[in-house]
Subunit: 266 residues, 3 copies
């Protein structure tokens, strides 16, 4: 009964007039938590349908600690990293409704070809191309294959490349080479995603894949480029739902270390 | 040749009269190790078909260190955690034949929405709903969305929530909040799965995802609720087949620590 | 524009005359980096199509630090370990074109049933059986289910089994038993893959799944059986593209330790 009321409440909350108002100001929460209908979810797990409407949509996506645009970026990155095309389809649609541009989606897929692997990006392409066709999004709306790159901070890059070369230059010259070019001298300098957003995508993918060891470097980079401590903490809360509690708890320990090292946590 | 004999032997072993007897007493081993037919497996890898019949069905599922009902719960949890819908379909059928109730399957899916992530649960819903329809399982057979919850052990919960709040309350207030409600005050208190089984599901999902760091807490909780040392060891053996040897070896080191700390291993 | 030139250049490079020459000598690079067409990739991410042609095919697969046959084995192992059937289909075709035999593909699938889990192997069977049918590959071309096994190095096996028994014999007798038989006394002794290649498959799957803790043992075993230091380093570079940079960086640290311990790195 409680679930029915909640669903009814949600559909009122997200109904036409409220939606119209939202369209003018705030971004939208997803109308539905899944590509599956509430009825399908209820037919297997009524409690899950309740958690989807009451908690996932009715609470998590309403929280202001992270913007809805950022939540969409985090969600899309997690789903590409975990290779879940069915829910990715749903959430690319939500992201486009939340003012993540097609060019940015394109850039996120490209970025995660490197951070989650080429096959994950191919699965994302397969899902996204149909959405782009359906929305009439053509190549002219996407980032160019070879745009003018952002100016490079040569000092930071020198430090990075020297460290990697010293550690692994004799072990895997190929890895060191490709990490410099195309990874850091090309991909990371592409203008299609703001550096803060590119780091947000990277951190989200690392949390989603349980790759805790590399979260620290990229979270610091994200915060150097404008991500706030509050946003960092809320990314973890969002990831708990989309990548599971264990990955969130592995990540929050690293976030805690980073924030303390930056003097941003008690 | 040996493989053909083994397959023939298996089909005799699992033939009608033996099956009828089993139905009255013990639970059944799966008739087949996969949604794929033995012929399909043989057409690619004859040895794999042999291992499937001789070892997976002919040995692992016959072992009494873990009941067949428990093996089904472990298998379903692993397949949801690793997002493998084709084999999940096969093993939800096996689980229902092994007296895991539809209500329990429903609860396992709901539980793993939190421990393996919402998208994994959605993939499990997509598979399970068709099985429920085919078996005529309606919502009246499932756990209610908001049932009366199990009584809470307030002392244990206070300790848990205090620790999490102290460690991460300033870092990710959202994660801390959602971990309390709905995770520990709602999901874990739902009566649709016995606490021992809920912990069995959690431990299985953690092993399957290689999340060793969090196995210890949940294995202790499982054993506090009745899981035996022998069962703990056999879960790892079962997981070796369904989640791969490397995950099993990462897990067995943690199981060893837990058992030794509880004075249950030499 | 640059992307179009690159694609044109690639199609010239890989065109008929060069190909004919390659067929006589070197193995082929894949004609395409994905089961998806270049047009599909460009419709979502023009830069990704450029990276696919310029870097993945135009550079990585051209490098001689690892043979194309080895690159195919590594790629197939990674895709089975990460359960990505769409790209696996493409790369099993490439592997067969690169003189990986059907019998070896069959053996890789069988091997990874143990190292990546039975369900991953079943997904690989589903993909591979159609390719075998289309190419007229019948069971007579595959390894027998129970062939005469390679001679066992009893001293090495005694050491392995004693260590595992001492560590985990009292914890999980089932895991210890199945690790001996069928894993080490049967699977690892099958003649269908050379020991060096079997270890190459294992190391690739471990890198792909982020299971760093177990790379060291199997990399040493691979090098004992003939894998060179240069090949070890290049496997990591190859895996960066197919399993993502974070897994490659976790792996390269272990490769570095192994090479230094063997006196093979500065």
């Amino acid at each position: 009964m409680k679930a029915f009321i909640a669903v009814a409440a949600m559909s009122l909350m997200l109904g036409a007039p409220a939606l119209a108002e939202e369209k003018r100001g705030e971004k939208m929460a997803p109308r539905s938590p899944s590509v599956l209908s509430a009825e399908d979810i209820q037919s297997v797990a009524p409690a899950l349908a309740r958690f989807g409407s009451e908690v996932l949509i009715g609470d998590l996506w309403q929280r202001t600690e992270l913007s809805r645009r950022d939540r969409s970026i985090v969600t899309v990155a997690i789903l590409i990293a975990r290779n879940q095309p069915a829910e990715l389809k749903h959430n690319v649609e939500v992201a486009l409704d939340n003012d993540v541009t097609a060019a940015e989606i394109s850039e996120i897929v490209t970025h995660l070809a490197f951070y989650s692997g080429w096959p994950n990006a191919m699965a994302a392409v397969a899902v996204t191309k149909d959405i782009f066709v359906a929305r009439g999004i053509g190549r002219e709306q996407l980032a160019a294959a070879s745009p003018e790159l952002l100016p490079l901070n040569q000092a930071v890059e020198n430090q990075r490349s020297t460290t990697v070369e010293q550690n692994f230059g004799a072990i895997s010259p190929g890895l060191v080479k490709f990490t410099t070019q195309p990874l850091f001298l090309d991909l990371w300098q592409r203008p299609g995603l703001k550096p803060r957003d590119r780091s947000l995508v990277t951190v989200s993918a690392l949390i989603a894949a349980g790759q805790s060891a590399q979260i620290g470097y990229h979270l610091n980079r994200a915060m150097d480029n404008g991500l706030t401590a509050q946003e960092a903490g809320e990314i973890v809360a969002h990831a708990a739902f989309y990548a599971g509690w264990p990955n969130a708890f592995s990540a929050v320990a690293v976030v805690s270390e980073v924030l303390r090292a930056r003097g941003l946590a008690g």
